[in-house]
């Protein structure tokens, strides 16, 4: 980026870029000097709002743990395991190994596994290299895990992977149906837009369809806690109801759709009887009726669906069941109505657009269509183009496991954590001849199995574009120099391409050239049959590209973006009609059994992102839910012999994990929830992927993350505790541990078994201190199993360790705060040993508002003492909830709790 343009984008309150987290794709302004971030008021997605993750981006810019030069593995384990090597050697090695593998075993023996974290430009080059030059379609992406069912559903219904609406529709709607989406936590800014609109216009109805009573239900007029996997019956039931209650848009159906009757017949047959439907969905009949009536009676309906729909053995059918209802009522392509797929990742959409999935080609062109294949080959002028779709993510790693794929390049993703049956994925990588991993951090569960590690650019260093869930293309701009030898992914890919003899095809000077090629391909021989068209973005100069303002595609001409699609009733199918897809319910592949009596559901939490490689280093984000947990109904906790706050082992046929038992009150009986984020870098045993059944949707190949039969047992530990350390810690003595980042110090929660004879020596060895630890203080009550110790250097607290029954462990916030002080007083020292400050203190309680660091106790106290009645009062009083608003559901919960207590006699 030129200095001039950098100044121009920086003029309006900081450099404009895009948040790298969820699919909302918010605009961010960065103060490049102070490295603070704020919401971009001019960005259409967020209009200045930011969630807590986005707000904490500044905390993730440190270089601790970054991978800064290419590394080669030289030993299986130990500190000397990795050896740095030059980029040139690394790239040549990749080119040689890939070429040799292809020569010996054919193009199907190599693969790329990429990510929705990549920028569109990186993605484009990866796809081009694999499909056009290595000659196979063995490239799939972690987007397969989050929205491929939506892609497949869109293609079946519309003929192309198109999200018809935009975020504004949520504000124009009279009914918002949120299906399988904890929008409040996973897409907080979009949720805040809905909240704001509902406050402005209370008649806006919100229905949440989710087995869990998530924080999103906070604004719901109606929550349907349907049985897991019963979305198809529910929406078939809705379709049948719409038919029998005169809600059909007959003209629209007749003029613009096909196969309505077949879909209706399937719906009536499988879900026509309301009583039976109520049973199969696990819902009360009157709730169903309320929902159906509401849907039937409201014209402006947006149905948002997300992972709860997509991540299923029948995800594609679920998508179509939803779309069917919108087609049947003609509620599509008009303001305030339509089905809306919410993607999980920042650039899942960009990946779809360049063909990052193994069954698509590029620019929404199809691999299976010879004419389109030829078109792409002509455009690329490539030696070949893959003819058959490659394996989808789960199958791809299966192919690695059984040796069909022998060389694999993984970029910006962590499949050993995120894929189902993740232990098998780990084993597959162990077996693989050659594994290259490009990442920004040196240590991930996947990187540990690599033969070569390539240092990639992180947010703030990368330069390119991303597309969000409403088809808006935004620039991610670099505002920091690349650290060490980190390089863009597109550059590494292009360099390998050039070393394989394709100098011309991969002769890119920068991301602008790649984007230009991508835009030209979308317009190439596009007579209008492909909606995806960036003709208006082709031919930009470097400075125009640098200054590119967010724009929604299709972009038929320069400066002309689009709004909703299908407003004219025309769909990109052969006959221009949308398709109803008849769907029938399919039972989950793995039913519950006596041995595995619970349904495991997985998902995100509010303050973490994916496998925590970035959010895990931000202290602000570690405070809300610091440890891996398993959420259960309180009665199930009792039934399983567990204790809230204790540890539990969750076991499925495929794997096992250990997590803290939580009773959030969100779960129904028989279901458990485990967040997806934790992995071996942050906890001893918390990869939920290891448990998830490797069942995939037959159409989309998207895994079933929301329904795995599991068992939950107590994880017995004889002692537990917490330790804070600035330096390295020996985790071997612990049966279980979880790491939490605090400012300047790491916190470890731990549990263990076995007798500790000399706790003093044990604690010193855990903290990797010698026998003479210097300034070391300790407190022992062996009979009660209590041991406290702290270590200082030059009067500054270096580490402290507590072993005690859970209710006697010290307040974490207070401890973390002591690490921030330059010197501690004598009273502090005694307090450290006592595990509590000596003076009178305020324990602000568990963190509720991450943005302003306001704890639960503080809020409750303010509510009581100042007689606060609404979240607005709380915000006015304590600022809590005043930034990203993602804690507002919790604040509302606390208000309700306090009101209940007051009302009690």
């Amino acid at each position: 980026m030129s200095a001039a343009s950098l100044q121009s984008v920086a003029a309006a309150g900081g450099l404009a870029t895009t948040c790298p987290y969820c699919g909302v794709g918010c605009g961010v302004r960065v103060d490049t000097r102070k490295l603070t971030v704020s919401g971009d008021v001019q960005h259409p997605a967020n209009g200045g709002r930011l969630c807590v993750k986005g707000s904490a981006l500044g905390e993730t810019l440190g270089l601790d743990g970054r991978l800064l030069r290419p590394q080669r593995r030289v030993a299986e384990s130990g500190p000397e395991r990795w050896q740095a090597l030059a980029w040139d050697d690394a790239l040549s090695e990749i080119a040689t190994r890939f070429a040799r593998t292809i020569a010996r075993h054919g193009p199907e023996s190599v693969a790329f596994y990429v990510s929705g974290q990549l920028l569109t430009e990186d993605y484009y080059v990866a796809n081009k290299l694999m499909k056009g030059y290595l000659g196979s379609a063995n490239i799939d992406t972690n987007s397969r895990l989050c929205m491929s069912s939506a892609v497949a559903g869109h293609k079946r219904a519309f003929g192309e992977d198109l999200v018809p609406g935009c975020y504004e529709d949520f504000e124009l709607a009279d009914l918002v149906v949120l299906v399988g989406s904890n929008t409040a936590w996973c897409h907080p800014v979009l949720y805040q837009r809905i909240v704001a609109e509902k406050e402005r216009r209370p008649e806006l109805r919100v229905v949440v369809v989710d087995p869990r009573r998530t924080p999103t239900c906070d604004i719901a007029d109606l929550h349907l806690p349907l049985a897991p996997g019963s979305d198809v019956p529910l929406f078939n039931g809705l379709l049948a109801w719409l038919a029998t209650h005169g809600a059909a848009d007959r003209d629209f159906i007749a003029a613009h759709t096909r196969d309505a009757d077949a879909a209706l017949a399937a719906a009536a047959e499988t879900a026509g009887d309301l009583d039976a439907l109520a049973v199969s969905c696990g819902l009360q009949r009157d709730r169903l009726e309320t929902f159906f009536n509401l849907f039937a009676a409201t014209d402006k309906v947006v149905t948002l669906f997300s992972q709860g729909v997509n991540q299923s053995g029948q995800g594609t059918d679920k998508v179509n069941a939803i779309i069917n209802c919108h087609l049947y009522t003609g509620r599509i392509g008009k303001p305030g109505m339509g089905p809306f797929s919410m993607t999980g990742q920042p650039n899942a959409m960009g990946g779809r657009e360049v063909g990052g999935l193994s069954n698509t080609l590029a620019a929404h062109l199809e691999l299976g269509d010879p004419r389109q294949r030829a078109l792409v080959q002509r455009f690329w002028n490539s030696p070949t183009v893959a003819e058959t779709p490659g394996p989808k993510a789960v199958d791809l790693f299966e192919a690695v496991h059984d040796g069909r794929i022998k060389a694999l390049w993984i970029m910006a993703t962590n499949p050993v954590v995120s894929l189902p049956d993740a232990d098998r994925v780990r084993e597959a990588l162990r077996r693989c001849d050659f594994v290259v991993v490009s990442d920004v951090v040196a240590s991930t569960d996947t990187a540990q199995l690599a033969h070569l590690l390539l240092p990639a650019l992180s947010w703030g260093e990368k330069d390119g574009t991303v597309t969000n869930s409403e088809r808006v293309i935004s620039r991610q701009r670099a505002f920091r120099a690349a650290p060490g030898e980190a390089r863009p992914d597109w550059w590494a890919l292009a360099e390998v391409g050039r070393r394989l003899g394709h100098e011309q095809a991969f002769d890119y000077a920068g991301p602008q050239q790649i984007f230009d090629e991508h835009a030209r391909l979308s317009a190439f021989e596009n007579g209008g049959e492909r909606v995806f068209n960036l003709a208006g973005l082709a031919g930009m100069s470097d400075s125009e590209y640098d200054a590119l303002a967010p724009i929604r595609w299709p972009v038929p001409a320069p400066g002309i973006g689009s709004e909703r699609l299908f407003g004219d009733g025309r769909f990109p199918t052969e006959d221009g009609r949308a398709m109803f897809v008849p769907v029938t319910p399919v039972a989950p592949a793995h039913p519950l059994s006596e041995q595995f009596p619970f349904i495991l559901n997985t998902g995100r939490i509010r303050d973490q992102w994916h496998t925590m490689t970035r959010t895990g280093v931000a202290p602000t984000l570690g405070a809300h839910l610091p440890e891996p947990y398993v959420d259960l109904h309180a009665a199930d906790v009792l039934a399983c012999g567990l204790r809230e706050g204790g540890l539990a082992r969750v076991t499925s046929r495929w794997g096992t994990l250990v997590a803290r038992v939580r009773c959030s009150g969100e779960m129904r009986r028989g279901q458990v929830f485990v967040p997806i984020h934790w992995n071996d870098q942050f906890a001893s045993d918390a990869r939920v992927g290891a448990l998830v059944n490797p069942v995939v949707d037959p159409v989309s190949g998207e895994p079933e993350f929301k329904h795995t039969p599991v068992r939950v047992d107590e994880f017995r530990a004889e002692w537990q505790g917490v330790l804070y350390a600035r330096g390295e810690v020996d985790l071997q003595p612990f049966a279980w541990w979880a790491k939490v980042q605090a400012p300047d110090v790491q916190r470890y929660e731990f549990s263990g078994r076995g007798k500790l004879d000399d706790r003093s020596a044990w604690a010193r060895s855990v903290l990797r201190l010698g026998v003479s630890a210097g300034d070391w203080i300790e407190y022992r009550d062996d009979a009660s199993g209590i041991y406290h110790a702290a270590h200082f250097r030059d009067g500054r607290l270096q580490a402290c360790l507590y072993v005690a029954p859970p209710d006697l462990l010290p307040a974490r916030g207070w401890l973390a705060e002591l690490f921030g002080r330059a010197r501690l007083t004598e009273r502090d020292r005694v307090g450290l040993l006592a595990g509590a400050p000596l003076g009178p203190v305020q324990d602000s309680g568990p963190l509720v508002c991450s943005c302003f660091r306001v704890g639960r106790n503080t809020i409750v106290q303010a509510i009581r003492e100042r007689d606060l009645k609404s979240p607005k009062d709380v915000t006015a009083c304590l600022r809590a909830g005043g930034n990203c608003g993602s804690c507002l559901p919790e604040i509302r919960g606390l208000l309700a709790e306090c009101a209940l207590v007051e009302a009690a006699p």
Partner: protein, 528 residues
């Protein structure tokens, strides 16, 4: 029978809840009638509390004080004997008691008050004679308390071995260290005795007791008869039977004369050896070091102050003393004291020779029972006394370091106060208190380091330890707990909460609720 019938029925026995009282009107007077659960006996006394003037005694708590059934006034808590109406706290305020009995399930009370002998503070014509043998802290404390309680009861005579008046022996260490002068530690100068009409024989110790004739004979040949005799002969320092123990420059650390000798010896500076690393030895060592001597402590045991400190605390103390230039030999047995006519050093069993111009033996004390034994009183290690501090001879009491009570002898000052108080009340004929033994606490500063210890802290089964250690600040604390009671405490470097722990130990308070905060001080532990 001319005797008028004065018995009145009060109520049915069942109407009185056992171990409580009821108020009744008896011929126009309010009385309180109590029913005891143990034997279903009833008692009647006046209902009026003489201290407050309120008719409330019927509502008082009944109980047992040293075998006497009493009711405590609900107002100011004075105790009144149910049987006699005697006020335990103040004989001037005795109240009427009435005969009471149960017949056919009815409680009857005689309207005629009991006529009982109530010992009051009536002056006697002939004062009884009390002879005190020993002018130490214990004996004089008894005299002080006795004069407070019954100033005119006795004619008192005191025999003392030392020529001084009574002084505070605990403060000998500061005198040695030069922090105090001997005049500063005098408790009772000769004038004090004269003012109170006490005959004081200074420097004239008692040498014989004739119990049959009740006569004490002094060294000077003086014979004094007694009605009550108080033995407070204290203890003697142990002198090890080592060759050379009689040499000049070898001393014990027991009295002002010893201190004077040590101060004189230290004038030449030079080297000193203190045999004994107990409390007294270390104080001597500290004092001599302060006076500029090069001090070596020779201790038989494997740690210093083994009675008061556990191993870690003792190690910290040793480290600290050494850092201040003292030399400490542990597990060291002295074999001989060397020198021609003046001491020149000592030889240890392992052959080590330590030069010294002064040798202080501080290896313990032995109760001084010579006199008691000679007159046929039962003695073991000390003079045997019961809980009233009475010896085998009911006219003879004994207190202080010379006694053995419930099998124990004491070498610290604190138990003396309790013994003296009990003994004084007995002598004052208000004998309702008992001495039940003392729990020992040591709080001192050794070489400027605060040390506190109390109770038991030698590892025994079934007890738990709370330990904290801050080497940098030189602080070590340990509490021994059993069944949620504090059994013992060792505090080193910071003894601020010693008194509180001592309270917890002696009162056997349940600390279950504050166990996890206990070691961090009273303020923190009792905070809400």
């Amino acid at each position: 029978m001319n005797t008028p019938v004065t018995w009145r029925p009060i109520c049915a026995l069942d109407e009185i809840v056992p171990d409580t009282g009821v108020a009744a009107l008896l011929d126009g007077r309010q009385i309180a009638v109590f029913r005891m659960r143990a034997d279903d006996r009833v008692y009647a006394i006046a209902n009026r509390d003489p201290f407050s003037g309120a008719n409330v005694l019927a509502r008082g708590l009944v109980g047992d004080l040293q075998g006497e059934r009493v009711v405590a006034s609900p107002i100011y808590k004075q105790h009144f004997s149910l049987a006699t109406g005697r006020c335990l706290e103040d004989p001037e305020r005795n109240i009427d008691a009435y005969p009471a009995r149960v017949s056919d399930g009815m409680v009857w009370v005689d309207a005629q008050p009991l006529r009982t002998y109530l010992p009051g503070a009536r002056p006697r014509l002939d004062k009884a004679r009390l002879v005190v043998v020993g002018n130490g802290m214990a004996g004089m404390r008894v005299v002080e308390e006795l004069l407070d309680a019954a100033p005119d009861l006795y004619q008192i005579e005191v025999f003392g071995a030392e020529t001084h008046g009574n002084y505070n022996r605990i403060l000998l260490s500061p005198v040695l260290a030069g922090e105090k002068r001997s005049a500063d530690i005098m408790l009772h100068p000769p004038a004090w005795y004269a003012e109170r009409g006490i005959v004081f024989h200074a420097g004239d110790p008692a040498v014989a007791i004739n119990r049959t004739r009740r006569i004490v004979r002094s060294k000077s040949g003086l014979e004094t008869g007694y009605d009550r005799l108080l033995l407070a002969t204290g203890s003697n320092p142990v002198v090890l039977p080592l060759p050379g123990r009689e040499l000049a420059g070898v001393t014990t650390f027991r009295d002002l004369d010893d201190v004077d000798a040590m101060i004189a010896a230290s004038a030449q500076r030079g080297q000193a050896v203190v045999i004994g690393g107990g409390l007294l030895g270390l104080e001597a060592a500290h004092g001599l070091a302060r006076r500029g001597m090069q001090v070596t402590v020779v201790h038989l045991m494997d740690r210093l102050m083994e009675r008061q400190l556990d191993a870690p605390a003792a190690a910290l103390l040793k480290q600290k003393l050494e850092s201040r230039g003292m030399t400490v030999h542990l597990n060291a047995q002295t074999e001989a004291i060397l020198g021609e006519d003046r001491v020149s050093g000592i030889r240890l069993k392992d052959g080590t020779i330590i030069d010294a111009s002064l040798v202080v033996m501080a290896v313990g004390i032995r109760p001084n029972v010579e006199l008691a034994q000679a007159c046929g009183l039962r003695c073991d290690r000390g003079v045997l006394v019961d809980d009233t501090m009475q010896t085998f001879d009911p006219r003879i009491y004994a207190v202080g370091e010379c006694v053995q009570h419930r099998g124990r002898t004491y070498g610290l000052v604190d138990p003396l106060w309790g013994q003296a108080h009990v003994c004084a009340t007995q002598l004052a004929e208000r004998g309702h208190t008992r001495y039940r033994g003392s729990l020992l606490a040591t709080q001192l500063k050794v070489a400027g380091i605060e040390v506190f210890s109390a109770g038991e802290f030698d590892a025994s089964d079934g007890s738990d330890d709370l330990v904290m250690h801050d080497a940098q600040r030189g602080i070590y604390k340990r509490l021994v707990i059993r069944d949620n009671r504090v059994l013992g405490a060792v505090l080193y470097g910071d003894a601020r909460d010693g008194a509180w722990y001592f309270e917890l130990i002696s009162e056997k308070r349940d600390i279950g609720a504050i166990r996890n905060r206990l070691l961090f001080g009273r303020e923190f532990a009792l905070r809400n």
